[in-house]
C-alpha cells in the first residue's frame, strides 16, 4: 500500500533527522566539504529590492568562501513555500525537495514544526550560533511562544515601531493613552491594518498588553471561560479609539504597506511597522521625507525574531547550513543591520564580539531611526491570536 510505505518512510526520515543533526554538531568540516558545489534554493519573501540586493551580495560571498551557489527563490508569501513542501511530502517526495532553505517565523514555523516538515535540530550546532544573544533576546529561542529547539536559526530582530512626519506629529505619542488622545485630536488620520493581517493583529496584541493591568494571563493559553474578562480592556479601548480612526473605524487598510503609503501621501499621520529601521530605509530610498521620525511606546512594544529553516526533504542540507552559518556571522549580520543595505537589527550579542567585529556594527545614527529604544514585550501565547481575531471579526469585521 502506498500509504503504508509513505508512513514508514516518514517515520524513517523523522528518526534520521536528529541523527543527522547530531552528526552536524560533531563534524562541521565534513558539512563544509559536502556543501561545496551544492546549489541552495533559498525561498525568501522578495518584497524589497534592498533585501534582494543583500541576498545577491550574500550569494557572491558564499560562492567565493564556501563554493556554495545560493539562488534566491522569490516568493510573495512564505506560505507558498510551506505549501510546496507539504505537497511534496504528500506526493511521496521525501528527498530532493525543491526548497533547501526558507525565511520563516510565527505560524508558518509552527505549521512546519508540528507537521514535521523541518530538518533539524541544527541551529545551535552552527559555529556562528555562539554569538547569538539568547539571553538578551529571548525571542531567538521562542518563536511566537513555540520553543524553537534548534529547528530554525535566528536571523533578524523585529519590534513594533511607530513612525510619522515630525511636521504633523511634533510630539510622538509614546503610550497607548497618548495615541488615543492624538487620534481624538486628529480624527481620521490614524488607523491600523485590518485583522487578520499580521500587523493589524500585532496592533491588537499591543493594545491588549498595554491596556490590561494584569499581563499574567497572556503568557498562558487562552482560557475560554476567562477570555471575556481577560480581554475586556482591549475591546473597551477599541470602542474609544474607533470613532476617531480613518473612516471612523468602518474601513481599514489591507496591510502595513498600504498604511505606510497612506502616511507617505499625507492621508494618515502615523503608520507602524515591525522593522524598527523601516522609516530610515524609506528615507534612504527617497520614498519618505527626512523629517519622518520613529518611536516606540515607552513602556515597551511587542517584539519577535525571524528565522531561517531547512525543510526535511531539502536536497542541499549541508549547503543550507553553511549558508545559514554565514548569514549569522558578524560580517553578514553587520551588513544586514546597516541602513545603507537593509537595516534589519542583528540577533547577535554585539557587546560580546571581538573589538574588530564590534566595530562593523558602529555607525552614525541615520535620519528616521528610533531615538529612544524601548523594552521588548514578548508576544502573548499563540492561542490568543485566533481568539482575538475571531472576537474582532465578530465585533468589527462585517
Amino acid at each position: 500500500m502506498p500509504h503504508d510505505r509513505l508512513r514508514r518512510r516518514l517515520i524513517a526520515s523523522a528518526l534520521a533527522g536528529p541523527l543527522l543533526a547530531r552528526a552536524a554538531a560533531g563534524d562541521w568540516p565534513a558539512i563544509q566539504r559536502a556543501a561545496r558545489g551544492q546549489t541552495v534554493w533559498f525561498n525568501a519573501w522578495a518584497g524589497s529590492e534592498r533585501i534582494n540586493a543583500y541576498l545577491q551580495w550574500a550569494a557572491a560571498e558564499v560562492r567565493e568562501r564556501h563554493g556554495v551557489t545560493l539562488r534566491h527563490v522569490k516568493v510573495a508569501d512564505t506560505a507558498e513555500a510551506v505549501k510546496r513542501v507539504r505537497a511534496e511530502r504528500e506526493a511521496g517526495r521525501l528527498a530532493d525537495g525543491s526548497v533547501d532553505m526558507v525565511w520563516i517565523n510565527g505560524e508558518n514555523f509552527l505549521a512546519m514544526k508540528r507537521e514535521q516538515l523541518l530538518f533539524g535540530p541544527f541551529a545551535e550546532a552552527l559555529p556562528s550560533y555562539v554569538h547569538v544573544d539568547t539571553a538578551g533576546k529571548p525571542t531567538t529561542r521562542v518563536d511566537f511562544s513555540e520553543p524553537v529547539e534548534g529547528m530554525e536559526a535566528p536571523w533578524g530582530m523585529a519590534q513594533l515601531t511607530f513612525f510619522g512626519d515630525a511636521r504633523g506629529v511634533p510630539q510622538p505619542p509614546r503610550s497607548l493613552g497618548a495615541l488615543l488622545a492624538f487620534a481624538k485630536q486628529h480624527p481620521g488620520r490614524v488607523t491600523y491594518p485590518r485583522p487578520p493581517d499580521f500587523h493589524g493583529v500585532t496592533f491588537l496584541k499591543q493594545v491588549l498588553l498595554e491596556s490590561s493591568a494584569d499581563r499574567a494571563p497572556f503568557a498562558r493559553p487562552v482560557a475560554p471561560e476567562r477570555f471575556a474578562a481577560d480581554s475586556a480592556a482591549l475591546w473597551s479601548t477599541l470602542e474609544a479609539l474607533h470613532p476617531s480612526l480613518w473612516r471612523h473605524g468602518r474601513q481599514f487598510p489591507p496591510n502595513a504597506a498600504a498604511m505606510r503609503q497612506m502616511m507617505a501621501d499625507g492621508e494618515l499621520l502615523i503608520a507602524f511597522t515591525f522593522n524598527p529601521n523601516e522609516a530610515a530605509n524609506e528615507i534612504a530610498a527617497k520614498r519618505l521625507p527626512a523629517t519622518v521620525v520613529s518611536w516606540q511606546h515607552a513602556a515597551g512594544t511587542i517584539g519577535n525574531t525571524h528565522f531561517l529553516a531547512i525543510p526535511f526533504n531539502a536536497r542541499a542540507k549541508a549547503g543550507a547550513q553553511v549558508v545559514i552559518d554565514f548569514l549569522l556571522s558578524p560580517r553578514a549580520q553587520a551588513r544586514k543591520a546597516d541602513i545603507a543595505h537593509w537595516g534589519d537589527p542583528t540577533v547577535l550579542a554585539v557587546e560580546r564580539l571581538a573589538p574588530a567585529e564590534r566595530a562593523l556594527f558602529e555607525r552614525a545614527p541615520a535620519p528616521g531611526t528610533v531615538a529612544q529604544p524601548a523594552p521588548v514585550l514578548p508576544e502573548p501565547h499563540a492561542s490568543w491570536v485566533e481568539a482575538i481575531e475571531r472576537e474582532w471579526a465578530r465585533r468589527h469585521g462585517q
Partner: protein, 556 residues
C-alpha cells in the same frame, strides 16, 4: 501517400476528436480532481457556512459580477451599433490591442492612483476645494464595490469590442452586414432599429461565450478586487484566495469550499440567464417583427458614442501616463501635483529583472502556440454542436479560482515529476491559455462558411491543402487575435508559474508580484508598465497580420 480504405479513414476520422479533447481535458481533469477534492469536505462547508463573512461576500460578488457584465455588454453593444461604419470605429479598433494588452492588475493599480482620495484627480481639485489632507471619501475600496465595477467595465468593454471586431473582420462579413443594413434602411427602419431587430439577434449568440467569460472573470477576479474592491467583507473570490493561501490546511479546505460555492453560484446564474433568454424568444420575436418604425436620432447617438469611445481611450492613456509618472515619484505628499523627490530606484529594479523577459516570452509563445493548436484541432474534429460539451472544461479554468487550479496542477506536476522544469511550466500555462484561445477563436472559426472548403475539395485539393491554402489564410485575423489573447494570458500567470516552477523560473510577473508584496508604489507602477509592453507588442502584431485588405494567403 497511399490512400487507406475509406471505411477505416472514416472511423479514424470520427474518433480524431479524442486527441485534442484528451490533451486538453486530461491535465485539467487531474488538476481539478486534486483541487476540488479539497473542497468536498463536510467540515470545511460547515465552517464556511458558519463564517459571518460568507453570505455578504457572496452577495457582493454576485452584485459586482452582474453590474459589471451588464454595463460592459450594454456599453460595448451601444458603441458598436453607433460607430459601425464610421471612421471613429476604425480608430477605436486600432486602439483596442493597446487597451487589451494592459494587464488587469496594472490597470487597477493605475486607476486607483487616478481616483483614490490621495490620487491625481483629488490633487487637481484640492486647491479649488481647499483640501490640505485627502478627502474622507471612499472612492476606492467602497463598500458597494463600485470602484471595482468601474474598473471591470473599463477593462471588459475593449474585450467585447475586440470580439465584435474579430467577427466583422472575417472575409465576406462586412459586405453581408452592409447589405442587411441597406435593406433595412430601404424598408424605412432607422439604423439603430435595424441593429436591434436584425443584426444583434444574429450576432449575440456568437458573443455568448465572451459574455460568459466576462461574467466568470468578474466573479473570480482577485487582483483587481484586492486593489479596488471592498474590504468588509471583500468579494468571495478574495476570501477564498486568502483561505487557500493560508499555511493552515483547514483554512485551505474552507477556501476550496468557498471557491466551489462561487463556481456553483456563477454557473447557476449563467444557466438561469440562458434559460430566460431562450424562454423569452417568442416575446422578443413578436416585438421585433410587429413592423413599426420608431424614430431614432442616429446622429446624436453617434456623437455620444464617439465621445464615449474617446473617453474610454483617454482613461487608458491617463492610467498608463500616471503609472509612468508614479514609477519615478519618490516623496509625494498630498496635495502637491508633482513629487518633492524623484527616484530611479524602481527602474533599476526593472533593469535587474531584465533577464526574465526571455523566459516570459518563450513561455508565452510556446503555450499560446499549443493552445491555438488544441483549439483548432478541437474545432476541426468536432461539429459545432459539440462545443457545448467542451464548455464545462473550458469554463472550469475560467471559473475555478486560480489558487485552486494552480494547487491541483502543481500536484499533478509533482506526480508526473515535471515540477520545477520548463516542460511543467509549459503544460501549466497551456492549461490556462487554451480555454481563452478557444473562447476567442470559436465564434469566427465556427461561422466560417463551409462552402469555401467544399469548393476547394471539389477542385481536387486535399484536406491539408484546403486548410493551409484556403481556410486558415481566410481566418488569419481571428487566429492571430486568439494567439495574442493566449499570449497575454500566459504573461500574467503568477501562481502556476510559482508553484509548478517551484519558484525557480522567474518571469516578469513573478518578479513584479513578489516585489509588489512589499507595497512599494513606484516599483509596482514600473513593473505594471513593463508587463503591459510584451502583450502590447503581440497584440499589435496580431492586428497588423489581420489588418483588413491584406490579401488572403499572404499576398501570393
Amino acid at each position: 501517400m497511399g490512400a487507406p480504405p475509406r471505411a477505416v479513414t472514416g472511423r479514424w476520422r470520427a474518433r480524431l476528436w479524442l486527441v485534442p479533447a484528451t490533451l486538453f481535458v486530461a491535465p485539467l481533469a487531474a488538476a481539478l480532481g486534486w483541487g476540488v477534492a479539497d473542497g468536498i469536505d463536510a467540515g470545511a462547508w460547515s465552517r464556511l457556512l458558519a463564517d459571518p463573512r460568507f453570505r455578504p461576500a457572496l452577495a457582493l460578488s454576485l452584485q459586482v459580477g452582474a453590474a459589471s457584465t451588464a454595463l460592459a455588454a450594454a456599453l460595448a453593444l451601444a458603441l458598436a451599433t453607433a460607430l459601425h461604419g464610421t471612421r471613429a470605429w476604425g480608430r477605436l479598433v486600432h486602439a483596442l490591442p493597446a487597451l487589451l494588452a494592459v494587464p488587469h492588475a496594472a490597470f487597477a493599480i493605475g486607476l486607483g492612483l487616478l481616483v483614490m482620495p490621495s490620487g491625481f484627480l483629488a490633487r487637481l481639485v484640492a486647491p479649488v476645494a481647499g483640501w490640505s489632507a485627502p478627502p474622507d471619501v471612499a472612492t476606492v475600496h467602497d463598500p458597494g464595490g463600485w470602484a471595482l465595477v468601474a474598473a471591470l467595465v473599463l477593462k471588459e468593454v475593449p474585450f467585447l469590442l475586440w470580439n465584435v471586431a474579430a467577427q466583422w473582420q472575417r472575409v465576406g462579413q462586412a459586405a453581408a452586414l452592409e447589405r442587411q443594413l441597406q435593406t433595412a434602411a430601404a424598408m424605412g427602419y432607422a439604423r439603430r432599429t435595424a441593429w436591434a431587430r436584425v443584426l444583434w439577434p444574429q450576432w449575440l449568440p456568437t458573443l455568448a461565450w465572451p459574455l460568459l467569460a466576462v461574467w466568470a472573470y468578474s466573479l473570480a477576479v482577485v487582483d483587481m478586487a484586492l486593489v479596488l474592491g471592498p474590504t468588509r467583507p471583500p468579494t468571495l473570490a478574495v476570501l477564498a484566495w486568502q483561505w487557500l493561501l493560508d499555511a493552515d490546511p483547514a483554512a485551505n479546505r474552507q477556501g476550496a469550499a468557498a471557491a466551489l460555492a462561487l463556481a456553483l453560484a456563477m454557473a447557476g446564474v449563467a444557466a438561469a440567464v440562458a434559460l430566460a433568454w431562450r424562454a423569452s424568444r417568442p416575446w422578443r420575436a413578436s416585438r421585433w417583427t410587429r413592423g413599426d418604425r420608431p424614430a431614432a436620432r442616429d446622429a446624436a447617438g453617434r456623437r455620444a458614442a464617439g465621445a464615449s469611445a474617446a473617453a474610454l481611450v483617454s482613461v487608458y492613456a491617463a492610467v498608463l501616463a500616471l503609472l509612468g509618472f508614479v514609477s519615478v515619484a519618490g516623496v509625494w505628499t498630498f496635495p502637491d501635483l508633482a513629487p518633492q523627490r524623484w527616484t530611479g530606484d524602481a527602474w533599476s529594479a526593472v533593469r535587474a529583472s531584465a533577464s526574465t523577459v526571455g523566459l516570459t516570452a518563450a513561455l508565452a509563445l510556446a503555450s499560446s502556440a499549443a493552445g491555438l493548436a488544441l483549439a483548432v484541432a478541437w474545432m476541426e474534429t468536432t461539429p459545432a454542436r459539440w462545443d457545448a460539451r467542451a464548455a464545462p472544461a473550458v469554463f472550469a479554468t475560467l471559473l475555478v479560482p486560480g489558487v485552486l487550479l494552480a494547487g491541483g496542477l502543481y500536484r499533478a506536476a509533482l506526480q508526473a515529476g515535471v515540477d520545477g522544469r520548463f516542460a511543467g511550466l509549459w503544460l501549466a500555462h497551456t492549461v490556462h491559455v487554451a480555454p481563452y484561445v478557444l473562447v476567442a477563436l470559436a465564434p469566427a472559426y465556427r461561422s466560417h462558411d463551409p462552402r469555401y472548403a467544399q469548393t476547394a475539395r471539389a477542385l481536387g485539393r486535399g484536406a491539408a491543402a484546403t486548410l493551409w491554402r484556403v481556410k486558415w489564410p481566410m481566418l488569419l485575423a481571428p487566429l492571430a487575435a486568439a494567439f495574442a489573447v493566449g499570449f497575454a494570458v500566459s504573461v500574467t500567470q503568477y501562481l502556476p508559474t510559482q508553484f509548478v516552477g517551484a519558484g525557480r523560473h522567474a518571469t516578469l510577473t513573478t518578479e513584479a508580484l513578489t516585489l509588489a508584496s512589499g507595497g512599494q508604489r513606484d516599483v509596482a507602477a514600473a513593473f505594471a508598465l513593463v508587463q503591459a509592453l510584451l502583450p502590447a507588442a503581440v497584440f499589435a502584431a496580431a492586428a497588423w497580420i489581420g489588418r483588413p485588405g491584406r490579401p488572403p494567403g499572404g499576398g501570393r
